[in-house]
């Protein structure tokens, strides 16, 4: 099989590193060669963070070339937008709706874009926008948002449910396993043909 490339984008502190690790772990468990990377360092202080997961019969580079990404997992609207050029035409974007103002927006020097979903659609990408933040809070833990996203991504990958559940259980704090599996199941059954309303917006 050729290589499938997944780009993950978010803000420091959103748990992107753990999500990358889970995704990498499931691909490995499903028998694929896999390469992945995540950018850490200064990013811990609310900076932009991104990661990649690439799997296939034989994968060399962990990095994705421009126009080569099959999926974008967006943890924050603006950060999803930032890496659009790395996606294939008609790539699939799964967005967990969240807005974290970058510094220049806090300081009112620049505007936060209010049309992220339509910008994606205008480029011809297939977009699923999920209110993961609200859903996670309803499940009792805001940190479950990423697992809901993984659940939704799992609809597009022909991997066994058992692999997902095992790897998630091995990687999340023991006390949160049940919540995470529930969040995953919710994300897996969600089909959002249309755009969900943005939340927490001023």
């Amino acid at each position: 099989m050729g290589t499938t490339s997944i780009w993950l984008a978010g803000v420091g502190g959103q748990g992107l590193v753990l999500t990358t690790r889970i995704l990498t772990g499931v691909a490995f468990r499903e028998g694929w060669d896999v390469k992945a990377t995540d950018v850490v360092g200064l990013a811990q202080r609310g900076g932009k963070v991104w990661g990649t997961v690439r799997f296939g019969t034989k994968v060399h580079s962990p990095l994705i070339s421009r126009g080569q990404g099959d999926f974008l997992l967006s943890f924050e609207d603006l950060e999803g937008l930032r890496w659009m050029e790395f996606l294939k035409p008609a790539a699939t974007i799964i967005m967990g709706r969240d807005v974290i103002f970058p510094n220049r927006v806090l300081l009112e020097k620049e505007e936060y874009p209010d049309n992220v979903v339509s910008q994606f659609r205008a480029q011809g990408f297939r977009v699923t926008a999920l209110p993961t933040k609200t859903m996670a809070k309803e499940l009792g833990n805001a940190r479950l948002a990423n697992t809901i996203l993984l659940g939704n991504l799992s609809r597009h990958l022909s991997w066994q449910l058992e692999s997902w559940e095992d790897v998630i259980s091995q990687n999340v704090p023991p006390k949160t396993i049940e919540g995470n599996l529930k969040a995953f199941a919710q994300g897996r059954k969600l089909v959002f043909p249309g755009e969900s309303p943005p939340e927490d917006r001023g």
Partner: protein, 594 residues
């Protein structure tokens, strides 16, 4: 079938050391190599520990090596500068227990102050260099490095780069081998680097390098793949090799696993078979220049940048330019303007009130390395210099001297964190104690090395109640150094802190202020959140100026008028914004307000 696992290159280095019978590992935290020690700490049957700085880390590993233990020390590229003094002389010593120095370079400066290329250190220090390109190789090369070290009595450097350090791949796991430690066999001629002994060692080093050059010519670490057309030979190493493979170009490739000393003779033979030879390397033309010096017609930096990481896209562009691969149409989405996102001090960060006060006081601040380097960025922009670990304490003396000569008598302030102060601020302080200039030193004692993920410092003990932790009492240390004006403040008492800083800035001579609030992120500090009473808010934006992630201006429903708003999910209740609000519109969500 042997067991396999997915791990990062950093984790694979740790695994490789453990499997190879490693005994002593040391490090000082610095991106991109922090995770090496974090992983090492999980392995049994060996001693792994953080050191106070890279020089001490290296010295501990040197001591363990000469007493017969297989040793590893890891650090970021600039750490090698601190450790260069012992390294440059240790390389003359015939090592006993295998010794490997793992260095993480940072092309692209994702978390560093410079982009220096460690490969030059290997030539400078007569040390062989290994460059893995995957997690599997990272693990294998640790063993190779230890074997080379013991066979030729040499330290070995393994060089990684940022993306490589964090890249993950599939690794075959092995068992740990037992490598007994023989202990220290006294041998002055071997370990006392003083003439006449050190004079003899120059010849030892020269012979060692000659032997290693021969090894490099025949080593299986140098992998050659030949294309059928013999048109172009690309010489590369590290992560660039993996990116190149991804392009699937019809070229011959010589992948250097050992990139110093270079297999110059073999490269000459291979070059003669090809019409074109291209060196693909990040940063400086280290390999290219060496091959040109050997009289080989190679190209490299003509096509690839001397700065930043080389991504698969950069490599494709360079090879198209070189006529090696045909130009291809890309169908990527249009590049649109996206608002940038610079790092920002965390919600509840104890550095925030300090920078806000220094900005109000129009202080000239000599900065240092840590999270508080973010005081350089807007909106604070109060740090006027940023150079290297602990440099603020020496630099401030020089700035003060020259300022006086220029007739500028403004008070000067230096900011330094506890981690950086203990790393390399102590000698700067000893030299500063008797200054007659007006210098205020702010030690931002947040009890952790925060920027690299919260490793312990000698003042962590004051905050973590653990009887087993040893520590250093900072005020007592300063007084023992002879500093007379020492003050301790809790900077979440904003007005009191401001008065103390302003009065220290008026005091001639050295004043030291220790700000004691611990790191909000590392110690997970969280108090009831604050909120803005929008009936009282006058939209003056004083709270926006303290620049906390949860605080922004937002329009009230149905109006154009913006009021300050605090995101309750992000606020950790430090109260600093409420103290700068002139109309007391920011209130605690505690039922009884404080």
């Amino acid at each position: 079938m042997s067991k396999t696992a997915v791990m990062s290159v950093n984790q694979a280095i740790a695994r490789g050391f453990w499997e190879a019978g490693g005994r002593v590992a040391t490090s000082y935290p610095g991106s991109p190599t922090v995770q090496i020690m974090e992983s090492l700490l999980d392995y049994p049957d060996m001693t792994s520990r953080w050191a106070i700085n890279e020089k001490v880390a290296l010295e501990v590993a040197i001591g363990a090596s000469i007493a017969g233990a297989r040793s590893l020390v890891s650090m970021k590229h600039v750490g090698v500068n601190i450790a260069a003094d012992p390294l440059m002389t240790f390389t003359q010593v015939e090592t006993v227990g295998g010794f490997v120095l793992v260095v993480g370079d940072d092309p692209g400066l994702s978390s560093s102050q410079n982009e220096q290329d460690t490969r030059f250190f290997t030539r400078f220090a007569n040390i062989p260099l290994l460059e893995p390109s995957t997690a599997q190789e990272a693990k294998d090369y640790v063993d190779e490095a230890l074997v080379i070290s013991e066979q030729w009595g040499t330290p070995v450097i393994i060089r990684l780069t940022s993306t490589l350090c964090h890249s993950q791949g599939v690794v075959q796991l092995g068992q740990r081998r037992d490598e007994p430690v023989e202990g220290f066999n006294e041998d002055q001629a071997r370990f006392c680097m003083l003439p006449p002994y050190s004079r003899d060692q120059q010849h030892f080093m020269q012979q060692r390098m000659a032997a290693l050059r021969e090894l490099s010519e025949v080593s299986p670490l140098q992998q050659y793949e030949e294309s059928s057309n013999l048109r172009c030979l690309i010489i590369t190493s590290g992560i660039s090799y993996q990116h190149l493979q991804e392009l699937g170009a019809d070229v011959s490739i010589l992948k250097l696993g050992m990139s110093y000393p270079l297999p110059v003779q073999r490269i000459g033979e291979l070059a003669a078979l090809h019409q074109q030879v291209i060196v693909l390397e990040e940063l400086m033309p280290f390999v290219e220049d060496e091959l040109k010096a050997a009289g080989l017609a190679v190209e490299g930096k003509r096509y690839f940048s001397f700065t930043g990481e080389l991504t698969p896209d950069d490599i494709r562009t360079g090879l198209i330019q070189a006529g090696v691969i045909p130009s291809a149409l890309t169908s990527a989405a249009e590049d649109s303007h996206v608002v940038g996102r610079t790092p920002i001090l965390c919600a509840g960060c104890p550095h925030r009130p300090i920078f806000h006060i220094l900005k109000q006081a129009q202080a000239v601040v000599i900065g240092d390395i840590g999270c508080y380097s973010l005081g350089i960025l807007e909106p604070f922009e109060v740090l006027k210099t940023n150079l290297s670990m602990g440099a603020s304490l020496g630099m401030i003396q020089g700035v003060a001297l020259a300022q006086r000569m220029a007739g500028n008598v403004k008070p000067l302030v230096a900011t330094i964190g506890d981690g950086t102060f203990f790393h390399s601020g102590l000698s700067g302080l000893a030299d500063l104690v008797n200054t007659r200039e007006n210098i205020t030193l702010l030690i931002l004692d947040n009890r952790t090395t925060a920027m690299t993920g919260g490793q312990m410092t000698p003042t962590t003990r004051d905050f973590v109640k653990d009887e087993d932790l040893t520590g250093i009492n900072l005020p007592e240390l300063l007084r023992a150094f002879g500093v007379e004006d020492v003050q301790v403040v809790n900077q979440f008492h904003y007005d009191k802190t401001r008065r103390i800083i302003v009065s220290a800035m008026e005091h001639q001579g050295l004043s030291v202020i220790i700000a004691t609030r611990p790191c909000a992120l590392n110690f997970k500090l969280r108090y009831p959140h604050y909120y803005v009473d929008s009936d009282l808010c006058i939209s003056c934006r004083q709270c926006i100026a303290v620049n906390c992630p949860p605080i922004s201006m937002r329009a009230e429903a149905g109006t154009e008028e913006k009021r300050s708003f605090i995101d309750p999910d992000m606020c950790v209740g430090c109260s600093v914004c409420s103290q700068v609000c002139p109309v007391k519109a920011i209130k605690s969500s505690r039922s009884q307000e404080v």
